[in-house]
Subunit: 135 residues, 2 copies
DNA sequence: TTAATTCCGACTAATTGACTAAGGTATCAC
DNA sequence: GTGATACCTTAGTCAATTAGTCGGAATTAA
């Protein structure tokens, strides 16, 4: 029952971008330096954030990344899902998989517990906005 | 953000024990057969449940496992923690580890989010009792 | 005794996680 | 244009975890 390190780092990095909001693009090297996260690892995380539209990148000299919208509008849940994909506490909740292991589907009693768990996790993560992390 | 298969199977197996509550010990072979879970894997899960006091074992012929208390008193959270250990959504929340990676500790802002997440997960899991899964 | 069953510990194959390395491509200041 | 800066992509590695296997020892009802 763990989030990945990518998520942990991703949230820290996004918090740092929130601090520098509207102060121009921030290079990953700066984030790497200050948050003590491997530059290469950050370069692996940020494409995910960009594809989800949470950040924008500016290339070239003095380039870097910046939030594409105000910190007040970005939920921690957005970051988690961007980096790690949808929250699925157990396998039988991931739709795409051809897991017929759960042979019941409809009337599975334990399934309801997992569904409720998933929803509550999303609730908690969606209840916190980026600006709350940096003040 | 996943629970392990051990937890998923453990809850299903415990639900089956709840159905057979007060009907004598149930051998793992029966559970394996009906729930389509590898017998050897079940034998790996049940020692954890026994050590946590959730089930009792009867050795020898016609032995098996049985709940050590009524289904109404056993929480899904008890099962999850017995099989998987304490819930720690991110590394910096696990006490025993010598992870000084999180150099802030006290005033870490993101930490509060993870703590809240952990608490809510426990809340949801502790809100469901075994008898609710089998009726 | 014998068969059924729990218990115990080591072993393994496959997957995932957490990075590291290297090279390529785009952009901008000068 | 040139070189520095920064993004982008792919691949590889190393350790831990997962989901089991396997074999055997202890226990007990019949």
């Amino acid at each position: 029952m763990k989030l990945s390190a990518k998520v942990e780092y991703g949230v820290r990095a996004m918090a740092m971008l929130a601090i520098h909001y509207q102060a121009g693009p921030l290079p990953l090297s700066k984030i790497s330096e200050q948050e003590k996260i491997s530059l290469n690892f950050l370069e692996q995380i940020f494409p995910d954030l960009r594809r989800s539209g949470l950040v924008e990148s500016v290339r070239g000299a003095h380039g870097g990344y910046m939030l594409s919208s105000a910190p007040e509008t970005i939920r921690v849940g957005d970051i988690v899902r961007a980096v790690e994909g949808p929250i699925t506490p157990v396998n039988c909740l991931s739709e795409n998989k051809s897991e017929v292991r759960c042979h019941r589907e409809g009337d599975c009693l334990t399934r309801k517990v997992w569904e409720r768990l998933r929803d509550r996790i999303n609730d908690v993560l969606d209840d916190v906005f980026l600006n709350e992390l940096v003040e």
